[in-house]
């Protein structure tokens, strides 16, 4: 399984899966932070825009449908919603325009330190009309949930009586190893994946070129065949084995772990990030009264199962029929790094 949207696209674009023998199957997991963001977050952003707040975001969030609307639709209705390349651009918008400006803080550990640094700049420059609506997520807790490692004291079991089934184990899901995200790993380092060998699962940190992916797959298969369970760094030109301590420090200065909801995976303890008390002034949820209804799941959409690697996109009844890149129903089709979008585009 790979858990990085950029790997999803790189694999499908290169067509590597067509070169593999029938005994090897590449599965996409929850690798796209946009795709794992629940509907509720979009609903909150829409509610903010409708209050007249300037909403700034990475571009791929704009077309994601919430329970009733999307930011793109709201922008077409005249609300002030802007795509930005960097949270620093959002800070500049706030500083230049003087209106209340919110940045949608979405991403994994590659992006979290970037947003943390922008938050520090906001306080340093005393830009008071800037705040963050956070939905940051952490990769290792999601990997643990996928292979059903209990988080802390809580076992990976749903509450009794909900009718839901237990999280599948590595054996249930048939996962033999992980292709690990390149730039997330550049921040968190190899040590963040120590739980994988303990569960007899090899992991390879990989770059994004076709050659990187093929050599990483070879390493995974070699380890699997020899019964060697290690984490290996196959992207040393960018990833130091111990990651980037400075980035982690900046992240820890501004954010702390919090329980979070993942589309498809449900609630995972300590898998998200929230602003620490010293940065609470930047929390849009504390600054604004945001009213959203509880969303009901969209009929037929199987993004959740796609994100857990339980099905390939074509098994979703909506795939490429009701749900297409030009009129997506679920985030896996919206995001350029979602599995469904990659599958439609590259086959």
């Amino acid at each position: 399984m790979e858990v990085c949207g950029t790997h999803t696209v790189a694999i499908r674009r290169s067509g590597v899966q067509h070169l593999l023998p029938g005994t090897v199957r590449l599965v996409s997991g929850p690798g796209c932070p946009v795709c794992v963001t629940p509907d509720r977050f979009i609903d909150e952003a829409v509610a903010l825009a409708r209050q007249g707040v300037t909403v700034t975001s990475f571009g791929d969030m704009l077309r994601v449908p919430g329970s009733r609307s999307s930011l793109e639709k709201e922008r077409a209705s005249g609300w002030d919603i802007r795509a930005v390349y960097s949270p620093l651009d959002a800070l500049k918008i706030a500083s230049d325009c003087g209106r209340e400006t919110v940045f949608l803080a979405v991403g994994f550990e590659t992006t979290a330190p970037v947003i943390a640094a922008a938050a520090m700049k906001a306080l340093e420059k005393k830009i008071a009309n800037f705040s963050l609506l956070t939905a940051l997520r952490l990769v290792p807790p999601a990997l643990k949930a996928l292979i059903a490692i209990p988080q802390g004291d809580a076992a990976a079991q749903p509450p009794k009586g909900t009718g839901a089934t237990a999280q599948p184990t590595a054996a249930d899901t048939g996962l033999s190893g992980f292709l690990l995200p390149g730039h997330v790993s550049a921040v968190i380092g190899m040590q963040a994946y120590d739980f994988l060998p303990e569960r007899r699962l090899p992991g390879v940190i990989s770059g994004f070129a076709a050659e990187d992916i093929i050599s990483s797959l070879l390493m995974l298969l070699d380890m699997h065949n020899k019964g060697i369970y290690k984490v290996m760094n196959n992207y040393p030109r960018v990833v130091r084995d111990d990651g980037n301590e400075k980035s982690r420090q900046v992240l820890a200065e501004v954010f702390e772990p919090v329980d979070a909801d993942w589309r498809g995976l449900g609630a995972i303890p300590d898998s998200g990030l929230r602003l620490k008390a010293a940065y609470a002034a930047l929390d849009a949820r504390q600054r604004f009264a945001i009213q959203v209804e509880n969303a009901s799941p969209r009929g037929g959409c199987r993004c959740g199962d796609v994100l857990r690697g339980l099905i390939d996109p074509p098994a979703c009844p909506l795939f490429n029929k009701a749900c297409r890149p030009d009129r997506p129903l679920g985030p896996c089709m919206v995001s350029s790094e979602g599995s469904c979008s990659a599958w439609v585009t590259y086959g």
Partner: protein, 72 residues
């Protein structure tokens, strides 16, 4: 999202730097890395330098972009 671009540091201004690649220049934050120096090659993501590369590594990565092998 992870598509970070190698660029070279041509000016340092406190915790920001001007980086350049293929004639394009950008102001980026460098506070996520230790000891960034002029002429260092860094990987840029969402307006910040997130990692350093050697000159050779940067050239190899840029060659992949230029050949279009990554973009297909």
């Amino acid at each position: 999202m992870c598509l970070a671009v190698p660029m070279q540091v041509i000016e340092i201004k406190g915790d920001m730097a001007v980086v350049e690649s293929a004639g394009l220049r950008r102001d980026v934050g460098i506070m996520l890395l230790d000891k960034v120096k002029l002429k260092d090659w860094v990987l840029i993501h969402a307006g910040f330098a997130i990692s350093k590369l050697t000159h050779k590594q940067a050239r190899e990565t840029l060659a992949i972009f230029e050949e279009g092998r990554f973009f297909g």
